[in-house]
Amino acid sequence: MNILELQNLKKYFATQKAVDDISFNIAQGDIFGLLGPNGAGKTTLLRMITGIFYPDSGEVVFNGRKFDPINDTAYIGYMPEERGLYKKMKIGEQAVYLAQLKGLSKADAMSKIKAWFVKFEMESWWNKKVEDLSKGMSQKLQFVTTVLHEPKLIILDEPFSGLDPVNANLIKDEIFSLAQKGSTIIFSTHRMEQVEEICNHIVLVNKGKKILDGTVKEVKNEFKENMYRIGAAILPEDLQHPAFEVIKHKPDELLLKLAPGTKTNDVLQYFISKNITVNTFSEVFPSLNEIFIKLVEGTKNARQFQEI
């Protein structure tokens, strides 16, 4: 079942087509990566999903019904890239306040916050003010306030910026466990290694248009170039065969590009006939980073102002 369906969304600003006819679906329980270079229209897209902006045309379908910003925001947790908290407010009160705005009762909010604070070892923070926190600490607090009301859809824009590896792992584990409990997570970033690690479904947007949509596996399959890595104890220099081309040569490893129509067993056969003991043989997929660069490169890097 799809928790979110975007149908032909458009949002034009005075000088930019920020989002230009984008459609995709997100299934419940997905960890969804929304990728794109700076200024691709990600934030505008997320703002339409969270009801901050109204689309010029097109429709957002949330949980099977047309998205209703007033009531449905209670089921969404949004951590924007430009985020912050009231500096002079006590941390506990602040968390209660934000939870109440999402429709939780005070008692309910209190018990949930206490549970999260214990989990993140933040119990002693309750009466501290936000201005006393370090950047990483306030990031953790921000994450707690985003997921506190157990939203069906959690939207995280660059959630790991400013976090050290330990805290980043802490948040990452929480993201996985929230997804396991049935929440859907939209994850927006341009750090591809994180996407590869966390997401199972990605969409790449550039210049307001969708240019890629699929599971990580599908995308990698689509962009694979028939590359294989073969490892052996000793590899002679003069290996040649019409079925493959050596891209990289190391004493104990080769990177091969197979000719179209070649079967992997043909390659192995050749190595066996040469009496080389093969230790490893595996297909090499392009990293998302490579795919990203390949797709985005060539288009003009910075967005140009245009007349609408």
């Binding site: 703002r47 969270t50 009801g51 901050i52 910003p69 007033i70 925001t73 969404i76 949004y78 951590m79 924007p80 430009e82 985020r83 912050g84 908290l85 009231y86 500096k87 002079k88 407010m89 306040y97 934000l98 109440q100 705005l101 999402k102 921000q142 306030t145």
Partner: protein, 431 residues
């Protein structure tokens, strides 16, 4: 609705709990009372000390003429005193006849004498000399005094309006000016507070977190209403504190003044007939308490709220379009501050003629009506004018709030550059 309530509560509680709020609420009335009491105390104290002046008059010309009837000056005629020993004998000053000029008296004091001492000695001597001249030309002093008194009976002010209430132009002036200036100041204080609050939300980057839970309009309205409630709380506390302190102060007033006040209140006619009988303070008290205080306070609260709502949403809009730089805010604030200042100028330059055209139009147009109408309120303007002014103000703040909401909703999420007036107008008319 529930969400707006939560926002109002947060804005209110965080500000009221703040130490500066408590300090300004309780210290300001205390300081005003201390200031008034202090200046009264000082002026009373300085009067107490009387001066002993030695008078050397060899011709004994002034001795029969100068009477020691005032407590401030005490003339002592003593021929043994001269310019050398008068301080030793405990005198504050020495007046002697300068032999080089005919009938020319000279005052000598150990240090430079104060203006009031010099002028009171001078008037004493002049009066004495004038009386001497009158006597010499055969005019009886008592007869002249009775003539002067009689002439003052030909004109007096009735002090009553058509509704038979005592009115006093001076008290009206003071009440109008005081309440006008109070609205003027509070509009600036609380308007700027709204603007700073919005700027804080923007620079702390909490705005986008908030608008994912509530609509921008709710956020703006909650802030405006919350801070307005803070302002109202502060004003009410001030009114309560000030009236409590003035009650304490009147308890120290002499009892006969209070009984006179009551007499005037019960029968205003006596004031004119026996004007001399009554103390000036008692008359003033009676005038102040004869004003229509429920109307004045009611209108004050209405125009405070109305004016605040009218302007604070504009301040909120300005706060939403600027970034960290306070300089930007100042240049955008100017067009909002101009009409407020203009209203104050209308008030202060036309307060003597509360019914003229400038005051009428000023009290109708919502940009200036909160300030200007308060200047007219103690002279009881016609009911239809009051009602029209209120309706226009309500319409005015609904309009400014609607317009500010449109600007706010776009401005609050814009980072990087300050919006121009042209852009803001465009946002206003966008769907």
């Amino acid at each position: 609705m529930n969400k707006i309530w939560l926002i109002i509560k947060r804005e209110y509680v965080t500000r009221v709990r703040n130490k500066t709020f408590l300090l300004s609420t309780f210290l300001l009335p205390l300081m005003i009372v201390l200031f008034i009491a202090g200046s009264i105390f000082l002026s009373v104290k300085s009067e107490e000390k009387s001066k002993r002046i030695a008078f050397a008059d060899s011709s004994e010309f002034f001795k029969p003429l100068l009477r020691n009837d005032s407590s401030k000056l005490n003339f002592v005629f003593d021929k043994t005193i001269d310019t050398v020993n008068y301080t030793k004998k405990g005198f504050d000053g020495f007046v002697y006849l300068d032999d080089s000029a005919n009938h020319h008296f000279v005052l000598r004091t150990p240090k430079a004498a104060s203006m009031s001492t010099i002028s009171s000695i001078e008037s004493k001597l002049n009066e004495a000399y004038q009386n001497y001249q009158l006597q010499k030309s055969g005019i009886d002093k008592a007869y002249l005094d009775s003539l002067r008194k009689a002439s003052s009976r030909y004109f007096s002010v009735d002090n009553k309006g058509d509704d038979d209430k005592i009115v006093n132009a001076g008290v009206n002036y003071a009440v109008g000016f005081g309440s006008g200036i109070l609205i003027y100041i509070t509009m600036f204080i609380f308007g700027a507070m709204v603007m700073r609050g919005v700027m804080e939300e923007k620079t702390n980057r909490i705005a986008e977190v908030m608008v994912s839970s509530v609509k921008p309009f709710q956020l703006m309205l909650g802030k405006i209403l919350g801070i307005g409630a803070v302002g109202l709380t502060q004003l009410l506390l001030w009114i309560i504190l000030m009236s409590a302190l003035s009650l304490v102060a009147t308890a120290f007033l002499p009892a006969d003044i209070m009984s006179q006040v009551q007499q005037i209140q019960n029968n205003p006619a006596v004031v004119n007939n026996n004007a001399a009988q009554f103390n000036e303070a008692a008359k003033l008290m009676a005038n102040v308490s004869s004003l229509n205080w429920p109307l004045i306070i009611g209108c004050f609260i209405f125009y405070f709220i109305g004016g605040y709502l009218f302007y604070s949403s504009l301040f909120a809009a300005v706060g939403s379009v600027v970034n960290e730089d306070p300089q930007e805010a100042q240049s955008l604030m100017l067009p909002i501050m101009m009409p407020i200042i203009f209203g104050f100028i209308i008030l202060s330059s036309n307060l003597n003629t509360p019914d003229n055209d400038a005051m009428f139009w000023g009290s109708m147009i919502p940009f200036t009506s909160p300030i200007v109408m308060m200047g007219r309120i103690s002279t009881s303007p016609p009911w239809w004018q009051l009602a029209l002014s209120m309706v226009l103000l309500i319409g005015g703040f609904l309009f400014t709030t609607w317009m500010a909401g449109k600007i706010y909703r776009t401005g609050i999420l814009m980072y990087g550059k300050k919006a121009s007036w042209k852009e803001m107008i465009k946002w206003t008319f966008r769907k």
